[in-house]
């Protein structure tokens, strides 16, 4: 009552506030990983120059603050991260933040298509399976879900490439667009979409199975609740029960999972982007590991964490929107 902030927003802000210590912990974590990794910035720099004498190396160390105590280094590192300054990539010869910015779009696009597909199809199939629980349809859907769950995305990707690109020649093997195409306008959109079909399918099927299973369980559980029985006693039909009484309540745990799993999906993009040579953060992460480009790798970890925090904030808002009990608490 005392604050003029709408309750929904205050709820979300509270949740966002909780993310501050999490981000600080991640900063410390990435710093530790950097320290654990063999070789530091100066080693990389020297290696890049093809060697240098000891005095020069000392000077460089002083310049990069590497002669300071660990705490000072940590403090400086965190201050830099907070400004999205991730240092210099000696592999790409440019600031890490610029490389990340280049790659961000592709990954976000892939995330958006995969998650929306996994979520929509997952909850629809889950709801259908639950409504026809223990029938043939349910068994079919549930079995399919189990198989999706058990199929690694890289294996699925290869099999899709084999079928749709090699055998049938319908879809491109990789890349985000046809390099020789120079499409503009809607042709460009259609071209990108064609390139995204297989990566999206490969990345979304396993998560689709998660949503499917959770939604099925959730609908079954909600359908047993007292207020659904009340609605039945009022004379409501099955469709009405589903739309007005079951769906919204059953969605709540699935939305929670959506937020919780976003970071896992981001991780999954490493494999998929690598196979389909999509120029995103995942592919970059893999290349950085191979090339031991620690600055870039840490940049990716930090940036991804920030994305995850933002997405969680959004799912919290969505959750609060769906659950009337939260708005008014």
């Amino acid at each position: 009552m005392s604050l003029p902030i709408p309750p929904i927003l205050s709820y979300a802000l509270r949740r966002l506030f909780q993310a501050v210590p999490v981000i600080i912990l991640i900063m410390i974590g990435t710093f530790l990983l950097l320290k654990l990794a063999p070789g530091d910035t100066v080693d990389a720099l020297v290696g890049d120059m093809g060697g240098a004498d000891a005095a020069f190396i000392e000077r460089l160390r002083a310049e990069y603050g590497l002669d300071q105590s660990v705490w000072v280094q940590l403090w400086r590192y965190m201050a830099k991260l907070a400004m999205f300054d991730f240092g210099w990539s000696f592999v790409y010869e440019q600031p890490v933040s610029r490389i990340l910015l280049d790659r961000l779009g592709t990954t976000l696009l892939l995330m958006a298509t995969s998650l929306s597909m996994a979520f929509t199809i997952g909850i629809v199939l889950g709801a259908i399976a639950a409504r026809r629980a223990y029938s043939l349809t349910d068994n079919l859907i549930s079995t399919l879900g189990l198989i999706f769950y058990a199929t690694p995305s890289f294996f699925l990707s290869l099999m899709m490439i084999l079928l749709f690109s090699v055998k049938l020649g319908w879809l491109p093997v990789g890349g985000i667009k046809t390099i020789t195409g120079f499409y503009t306008g809607w042709d460009h959109v259609a071209d990108v979409a064609r390139h995204l079909i297989m990566p999206t399918a490969a990345l979304s099927l396993i998560y689709l199975s998660f949503y499917l299973r959770l939604m099925r369980a959730s609908v079954l559980e909600v359908a047993e609740l007292d207020y659904v029985r009340t609605a039945r006693a009022k004379g409501a039909g099955e469709t009405r029960l589903m739309v007005h009484h079951i769906m919204r309540n059953a969605l709540l745990p699935v939305v929670t999972l959506l937020g919780l799993q976003f970071s896992t999906v981001l991780g999954g993009s490493v494999v998929v982007e690598t196979i389909f040579t999509l120029p995103g953060l995942g592919q970059l992460a893999y290349q950085s590991v191979i090339q031991r480009d620690m600055n870039t790798l840490m940049g990716i970890i930090f940036l991804c964490s920030i994305i995850v925090v933002v997405v969680n904030f959004l799912t919290d808002l969505l959750y609060a929107r769906l659950d009337s009990r939260i708005q008014l608490k």
Partner: protein, 549 residues
């Protein structure tokens, strides 16, 4: 069927409901026949597992088919054969010609929809009224069930209104279209006694206005005495007695009914015993506990609730002190503060002169053997992974007793609480509720405590089992000269067991004294209200009936 009589609201003939294979009996209900006339309240009475709730499900055609299904008989709602109806026809009947009020007002409403929307849904499903017409009707219904400020209640979510108000909303929903038959399945069981009386009166009032027939399902003979015109008694799916309320209540014919009614504790307390000479065993002084509502940086408001406010009491050796109150009165908090399962904010609890609240954790662990507890839920209070003998022997073992000896004593205790020694090696889930509560009592006794704190120990039990457990508790108390701090919401139970009672409201004691004196002449207005709300207070269960058979 007599042609001249008007069609009854409900007529059930020889109804049989089959249970799935592997159940403890083949039929949940076997041969039930009853009739609810218009303007009449028929109570269907039975203990848990008697099949009374499945009867309601069968009438609404909402049984969990095909596992549980009607296997024979006929049901006529206002003359129409329910069992012959198609699903669609049945849908049209529900809510319009037969409606239902459920037990749990907390869960029976959809948490995501406003109260108004949910009542409105009935109208939307069964009428062609305009939006404005429907809203006017809903508000009118909310007024009729005496909800203050119906216009704002219309837009409230269920979690924003109290349990009693929610049950009023359910009633408004059920009566919205003036159905000829209302089925009420334990509609007041989850409510406090004062609210319960109001709801019972409301149901009666509206039912008389509408002239509807009511099938009222309950386990509580007090409620039956309050509301019934006609009573049908079920025992394990079989109808054992049926007759006018006055006859069944005062001159029951079947031995089962007689036993059930004899189990209902009388409201007249036994004559007071004198404990002035006995030493004080447990003494609470100035106990206060405030629960701070957890508020965050952005939540805006923080509310704290004072659960117990400056409570002082004395318990003498061999005495039973009842702590009586409705939900939210702080009575359960008292039991937890005294046993230090919950830390009080201030005050002292002296056990034989030692202040428990000032003890270090180690000292407290040692002191615990003097003050033991019997819990409310016999399902939840026994660790499901432990054998009975280990559950009972655990206390002595923790306090340094030799394992073998502790187990041997545990077996003796089983005999003391009237369980067979074969129970020792079983797991808790193999027992009935009453048996589990006996195990709980044995566990409390194993440490030979001076004081036993019992928190609603019989409220989860059927009335016949309740009577047995209470008798056991009273016997053991007298045998072992125990002092009992007995927390309960049930005034009938308090009347029979407690020597003195303290009545609590909003964390404070409003009245304290000898049970007989308080029941005969309550001083505080709240106590008077509480006592006058006891269902069936004008009815005295005929104790002699048991011997008559």
């Amino acid at each position: 069927m007599t042609e001249a009589a008007p069609t009854p609201a409900l007529k059930i003939e020889n109804l049989r409901i089959a249970l799935p294979k592997g159940s403890d009996r083949p039929f949940a209900l076997d041969g039930l026949s009853l009739e609810v006339k218009r303007g009449e309240v028929v109570c269907l009475v039975g203990e848990s597992g008697s099949g009374k709730s499945l009867t309601a499900g069968a009438i609404m055609r909402l049984l969990p088919e095909p596992h549980v299904h009607v296997a024979g008989g006929a049901i006529f709602v206002q003359g129409e054969d329910i069992l012959a109806k198609s699903d669609k026809e049945m849908k049209a009947m529900r809510g319009e010609r037969v409606s239902m009020i459920f037990q749990e007002p907390m869960t029976a409403l959809n948490p995501q929809k406003t109260v108004g929307w949910q009542i409105d849904e009935v109208l939307r499903l069964h009428t062609d009224l305009s939006r404005a017409g429907r809203k006017a009707r809903v508000i009118e219904m909310l007024e009729r069930v005496h909800i203050p400020d119906p216009a704002s209640a219309y837009h409230a979510y269920p979690h924003q209104v109290s349990g009693g108000q929610r049950q009023r909303v359910m009633i408004a929903m059920a009566l919205c279209l003036s159905p000829g038959l209302i089925i009420a399945d334990e509609p007041t069981t989850a409510l406090d006694v004062t609210t319960q009386l109001q709801i019972l009166k409301l149901i009666r009032e509206l039912q008389e206005q509408e002239g509807a027939g009511v099938l009222f399902i309950t386990h509580d003979f007090g409620v039956v005495a309050q509301i019934a015109d006609h009573v049908v008694v079920l025992k394990q799916g079989e109808m054992v007695e049926s007759g006018p309320a006055s006859q069944v209540l005062n001159a029951p014919q079947h031995p089962y009914t007689q036993a059930l009614i004899a189990s209902v504790p009388s409201l007249t307390p036994p004559p007071a015993k004198c404990f002035d000479a006995a030493p004080v065993v447990l003494k609470g002084t100035g106990l206060t506990k405030t629960f701070a509502a957890r508020g965050g940086l952005f939540s805006g408001r923080r509310k704290s609730v004072t659960a117990v406010d400056n409570l002082t009491f004395e318990l003498r050796r061999g005495e039973t002190l009842g702590v009586v109150g409705e939900s939210g009165s702080g009575k359960t908090t008292v039991s937890r503060i005294v046993t230090r399962l919950l830390e009080a904010d201030s005050g002292a609890v002296e056990l034989d002169g030692t202040d428990l609240l000032a003890c270090s954790p180690r000292e407290m662990r040692a002191m615990r053997k003097h003050i033991q507890m019997v819990f409310q839920d016999p399902m939840a209070s026994l660790n499901p992974r432990k054998r009975v003998v280990d559950l009972i022997a655990q206390g002595p073992i923790v306090h340094g007793e030799n394992r073998k000896k502790a187990r041997a004593q545990a077996r003796e205790l089983l005999e003391l609480v009237e369980l067979s020694p074969a129970a020792a090696n079983r797991f808790p889930h193999e027992f009935s509720g009453g048996q589990r509560q006996r195990i709980g009592i044995a566990r409390a006794l194993a440490l030979r405590p001076k004081v036993i704190v019992a928190d609603e120990p019989v409220s989860a039990l059927d009335v016949s089992v309740q009577a047995q457990v209470l008798r056991l508790l009273a016997d053991l108390r007298d045998q072992m000269n125990l002092s009992l701090l007995f927390v309960t919401h049930d005034l009938r139970v308090a009347a029979q067991l407690c020597d003195r009672i303290i009545v609590m409201q909003h964390g404070e004691i409003v009245e304290a004294g000898e049970t007989a004196a308080i029941f005969a002449d309550p001083q505080h207005e709240y106590t008077r209200n509480l006592l006058s709300s006891i269902p069936g207070r004008d009815w005295t269960p005929p104790k002699s009936a048991t011997n008559a058979a």
